[in-house]
Symmetry: C2
Subunit: 337 residues, 2 copies
DNA sequence: CTGAAAGCGCTTACAG
DNA sequence: CTGAAAGCGCTTACAG
């Protein structure tokens, strides 16, 4: 876990080689304009000659600053999250931060551990896609350390923090309305973790659409599961055992929808014809599924970009008021419904 | 880019509060058995009471060690790479490393910049999925710094380093043979960057299969492109303009295959019936495509795990001989060919 | 515009 | 088993 390295060339050595003081050399590395061009060149030369590599760690320690940002996500395999990460990462690198990545694999214990590690590494800020069921307490440690943070994707009810996410409720409302408009009365809602804010919000929209249409929800048609392909597969198998199965399915996300399609085929149904399906996320592959998936587009990359921007704002402004950014989704109608 | 933080509680303060010397407190934090249980408890208490957070950065500086590892990848959106990253990340976190993530977005300049940044951050080791066209010189900077490194996914001819990757040649051979066995004589090879080792190796296998069968390759059927869905789409449109179009297509990877399918449909062909298609990678979604994709499984996650293990070995053993690990692929026959 | 000295928060010999 | 002091590689006032 530890590994001693060949001795680095230090700034002192560079300074000595260039015949200046360490302070001067330090100013040169940091491009301070107060150094004459002549001196600067001499020092730069010495750096090149000796193969000097700036030690950002020592610099950060001394100046009590940080240019690293921690990013903790739940699961890279999830396309929504990986696209989110692209947005975050791209934006953060642009502004010059280096990112410490942590994956919680949806485990609260791992997330806790990662939070600690990040703090120990003196991150200047943190972007957190929290595990469902994260408690405020865990996260408030960050506030205590005065570390800027933005929460993304999943909102934590009791946590005071910047947040950027999707208007899941509206997306779910649009999806369910679409199915109702097509004449469906028995619409299942499959997948997702019942305690997560993302599930609850989708449930809200699903409920609201039913209420509006004067329909009542059959609770046997609401089956939760991990938000994965496997989860979708299991959920649909369960719901099909129902004596009165659904005629349409609203899926927690596109991954779940794939699993659902697989399950339907396995049971002899033809997805998109016998049973309509709507997904959520509009991951890039959803339009090459079989059949192409009707889904709700939720702009993961943009979510990441905005989260990174918000964090950057927080880190550069001392007086920063809390922000909450909710992106509006869009219904993409394809062949599955 | 910099951000001053509230003053941290230091180990000195803890020591004073506990009535011991800093050295003793330090030994406690690091779980040194040489400290009596009684003293340990007192110190632990003080830490809790004061809200102490270990400063790994200061510790690493002083002890000239590092428990961070840099991971530079080309593109998170690419499912092969993101799965690879999962493997790397999971393994690295298990052994207690924290990962600094960099994405080169396939730009040589960005990769160079990231390498510098990682060195400046004193990473203890590095896993590099190099941009195609990376030159040895760039990478050898690491060797100069004596930083352990393992190359993954793409091999760099002139670079001496551990490497873990896939036997692309064999995978490509299997895929092409499969198409030849089905009676195809005009097999296109679409997508991928012509200068990358991954492309060259696939080309080798494709060539070899043709030679074996006494077939000759029509160079008009070999079209390179970025290894993305968009790239596949463009490549197939180009190859279809051919007066004598192919009857089967071997795709650089599954993403390219999706693009190819889309392109075929757009031009009125029915993928898997009019024209057979084989992909490469076996990404999780490939079996829910339309039609389910015949492809070569290349174990991205395992690749990541092995890369991380190799790096860990290098970092913990001083005498480490160079290793080259090549994973064997597998043909997955589904409906597209 | 440049230099000498102190200090960021730890760990590391060295004594005892 | 514990303590006092030096030092990792930088930056930061403070002088000049």
């Amino acid at each position: 876990m530890k590994h001693p390295k060949k001795k680095r060339v230090t700034l002192q050595e560079v300074a000595k080689h260039a015949g200046v003081s360490t302070a001067t050399a330090s100013l040169v590395v940091r491009n301070n304009p107060r150094i004459s061009d002549k001196t600067r060149k001499i020092v730069m030369n010495s750096m090149k000659e000796l193969g000097y590599v700036y030690d950002r760690v020592a610099a950060n320690l001394r100046s009590q600053s940080s240019n690293t940002v921690g990013v903790i996500i739940t699961d890279i395999s999830n396309k929504f999250i990986s696209e989110f990460l692209v947005g975050v990462h791209e934006t953060l690198e642009e502004v010059g931060y280096t990112v410490l990545l942590g994956t919680s694999f949806d485990s609260l214990a791992k997330q806790d551990h990662l939070l600690s590690t990040m703090l120990e590494h003196r991150v200047g800020g943190l972007i957190l896609d929290p595990v469902s069921g994260s408690n405020a307490e865990t996260v408030n440690r960050l506030n205590q350390m005065n570390t800027p943070m933005v929460l993304a994707v999943r909102e934590l009810p009791e946590v005071k923090s910047d947040y950027v996410g999707i208007n899941y409720r509206k997306g779910s409302l649009m999806a369910t309305n679409h199915l109702i408009d097509k004449g469906h009365k028995r619409i299942a809602f499959l997948g997702g973790v019942r305690t997560s804010s993302t599930w609850i919000e989708r449930m809200d929209g699903y409920q609201y659409a039913h209420d509006n249409a004067g329909l009542i929800i059959d609770n046997n048609l609401v089956v939760d599961s991990p938000p994965t392909r496997e989860g979708g597969l299991e959920a649909v198998l369960q719901v099909l055992r129902n004596p009165d199965p659904p005629t349409a399915i609203f899926c927690f996300n596109d991954l779940v929808a794939f699993g659902v399609m697989q399950g339907l085929r396995k049971e002899g149904f033809n997805p998109g014809q016998d049973i309509d399906i709507v997904g959520f996320d509009n991951i890039p592959e959803s339009d090459v599924y079989h059949p192409p998936l009707t889904t709700v587009s939720s702009f993961p990359r943009l979510t990441g970009i905005e989260a990174a921007k918000l964090l950057h704002q927080q880190m550069s402004n001392d007086s920063h008021e809390q922000q909450r950014l909710i992106l509006e989704p869009e219904l993409i109608v394809r062949e599955s419904a």
